[in-house]
Subunit: 447 residues, 2 copies
């Protein structure tokens, strides 16, 4: 999966030119988001662990070089160079789980230009997706107000890796579990799931299906109640709960799940039926096309839901399925660089983000300045790799998850809201005076 | 990548129940799209090759079974059964590249219920994504009116597999090339790419960058002209084109690429500059946030563009990043089954799609009927696997691409339009009388 050919062809054609021209000086690229998507007031950095894995494993196999040779575009001297290529540079980055804002570098690569350029496509591909999903997940968690959120998104995620890494990004941002077994195995995320409609439909009667499942499964069972008639199914569940309490060995009815219909009224009716039959400990899970706004509405209306399963709108971040994320050259051979293409201008130079907080740790503002400036606040970009080797210990996903929860709780109240933001009320991310001066100076000099 | 744990946990908990209960009868599941997304009038089936690969390789490794055992949910008898599990069923499907409509089964799995159930999540995950992207790609191809379309989407695709398989789906639907090298290698898709802005910015002067690249690269070069001032850069290109025509060995200026700004006016100005300087053979490539509507507008306005590079809106199908696709039980143990959850009702029974055409091959209507009905038109679902073995030869991607181009050209003119469709004018997909009768009969009997 981490093949060196996971890149855009132009990275290699530029690489050959750098190689031929003897351009071996150090380049600094920074990764940032130009503008937040509609309805996003902050984003959550994610994917750093996979970037580091990619960079440390980067090498071209013989078969990959044979393929490149077959294209007729590359000289053998360059292909021989690629055979020995390893990533020898430095990486600075915000820890995974850090909330961040537009125009803030979240990752910086400092390396010989050929290396720093080659890895652009895959670094963006990794960080873009997990950051997109962690940022979306944080909204579900905020909307849920402490109720459990479970990832049901595998079938709607964009292929296998997206399913597995969406589960990771969701867990990082505060989800409780995933239905995707491969993600549970790979990242140690709790897995969750009991039955689908087809199990009910494969039986002639819904009651037989419930009884059969309970007889087979010795653990906590969530019975799916919306296959035919939700309220009738919940009455059946209440009856079965009493019956099986007299058995020695069988599953325990831990919850019901409602996956369609009017979730609010069905959940209220179900709660009343369950409570009226002494099943106060049977929980209610809601799913079926939920997004953060419908969850917030259910929570706001005090609908008796203990957990939400989310799929489509989460795993593809369907209201905003991409971020305007870029990885741009900021310095080469010690000289600041800048892109001035209309609408895509960048701030030149090697930068740092300085985050200021109040006494309780609540974020006040982030200042983007030059890396050698002395500005108030903590520096958000930390050294991760130097000369291709780790200088920071790997962070456990559980620890990143706790850090993320703490930092999300420290966002200003207005920033944590789900809806559109009035631009004037945005979280402040000023540009330092020295960075502004450098930019003006650059524009005056470069043709 | 094709691990057996790429599934939702409930497939395994249901599997254990089927196993315990001795439910080994044959199930028939069908995969279909409930509703088309806004602005889609048809979809393009894709991903079958990867589904077949997945089914034929399906097996649980010892490590995977150890992980499942560690969950404490599964009995050892079931895990031993999983160790030997292979897919032994049948698959019928529409060929890749077939245009299809809502409520038409595009793939049918007939297998012991445990197997057919287990593979649901991954089959959906595969078919959903490639069908989504091929359907989007067909719109770009239609908008381009014969101009080349190149996939630049890797960085915005949702992780690595999505990037590679988006390239495949795009090529299937008529794209000309991809920038993603790994997709070129894996599927034999032509690759394309020359330079990014960073190459220009790494030089002190744009002219040096162009000269350096041409000196290093012995082939067709596309020079990127929008880093600082597009028109000035195009004048430079015209000057260089004359100069290098006197050299013995260097790259040939095949095209310029404009990636920002007012693409229409910059392309016109560039064409005038190039033509006025005898560079009529230098092509113009446009990119930068293009979608099918902006391409259609450029083509309609006769803007001199020879090719379009597309990224964000293509690789994540950003206006409609998911499809309402389902894989539903239609028959078990010879008896039709149906889901009646509100808004998610299905047509029961084992079905076939009968496509009727006029004398020129243009599609007239598709009738959804029962598999044993005799109805006019060709049957779109073909046998692919029987008893787990291939009964249809694998189809080369190039052949699927040609078939797709032919079938897209045979869509009714109204169906090929890009915009919203008036529901009354939709392509007709009637349900056969016998299927309607079966459904009514089912509802009268099932509780």
């Amino acid at each position: 999966m981490h093949g060196a050919l996971l890149t855009d062809l132009y990275q290699l054609t530029m690489g050959q030119a750098y190689f031929d021209l003897g351009m071996r000086e150090t380049a600094v690229f920074e990764l940032f988001v130009r503008r937040l998507p509609p309805a996003r007031r902050y984003l959550v950095a994610a994917g750093l662990a996979q970037v580091i894995e990619y960079l440390q494993q980067l090498r071209f196999t013989g078969h990959e070089l044979d393929y490149l040779a077959g294209l007729g575009t590359f000289k053998s001297s360059f292909l021989e160079y690629l055979r020995e290529l390893r990533f020898t540079g430095a990486v600075h980055a915000m820890p995974e789980g850090t909330p961040f804002f537009a125009n803030e570098p979240i990752l910086r690569v400092t390396a010989p230009i050929l290396e720093a350029q080659l890895v652009e496509s895959r670094i963006l591909n990794i960080i873009h997706f997990q950051t997109l999903i962690a940022s979306k997940a944080a909204r579900f968690v905020a909307a849920g107000g402490g109720r459990q959120i479970v990832d049901f998104g595998m079938r709607r995620a964009h292929e296998a890796e997206a399913a597995i890494l969406a589960a990771r990004a969701g867990y990082l941002a505060g989800f409780d579990a995933t239905a995707t077994v491969a993600a549970g195995r790979r990242f140690g995320i709790p897995v969750s799931g009991t039955m689908a409609h087809s199990f009910i439909e494969a039986h002639d009667r819904e009651e037989d299906a419930f009884r059969d499942f309970l007889a087979s499964y010795h653990g906590d069972v969530t019975l799916l109640v919306d296959t035919y008639d939700t309220r009738r199914a919940v009455e059946l569940v209440a009856k079965l709960a009493h019956e099986i309490s007299t058995y020695n060995e069988c599953g325990r009815i831990r919850a019901i799940r409602i996956d369609s219909g009017d979730l609010a009224s069905d959940a209220r009716a179900a709660r009343a039926i369950l409570d009226g039959n002494g099943c106060r400990d049977v929980r209610i899970v809601l799913s079926g096309g939920l997004d953060e706004f419908s969850i917030a509405a259910l929570v706001h209306a005090d609908v008796p839901a203990d957990a939400f399963g989310v799929g489509t709108s989460f795993a593809a971040s369907s209201d905003a399925p991409t971020l305007d994320m870029a990885y741009k050259l900021q310095e080469y051979a010690g000289t600041p660089r800048r892109k001035r293409s209309p609408g895509k201008e960048t701030w030149p130079g090697v930068k740092q983000v300085f985050r200021e907080r109040d006494a309780d740790g609540v974020l006040l503002r982030d200042q983007v300045g030059l890396v050698d400036e002395v500005l108030p606040g903590e520096r958000l970009l930390h050294p991760i790799l130097e000369e291709g080797e780790r200088v920071a210990a790997p962070v456990m996903l559980e620890d990143s998850r706790k850090y993320c929860a703490r930092e999300l709780a420290r966002l200003p109240t207005a920033t944590r809201q789900l809806g559109e933001e009035t631009p004037a009320c945005g979280y402040p991310v000023p540009i330092s005076d020295r960075l502004r001066a450098l930019t003006a100076n650059f524009d005056a000099q470069v043709i």
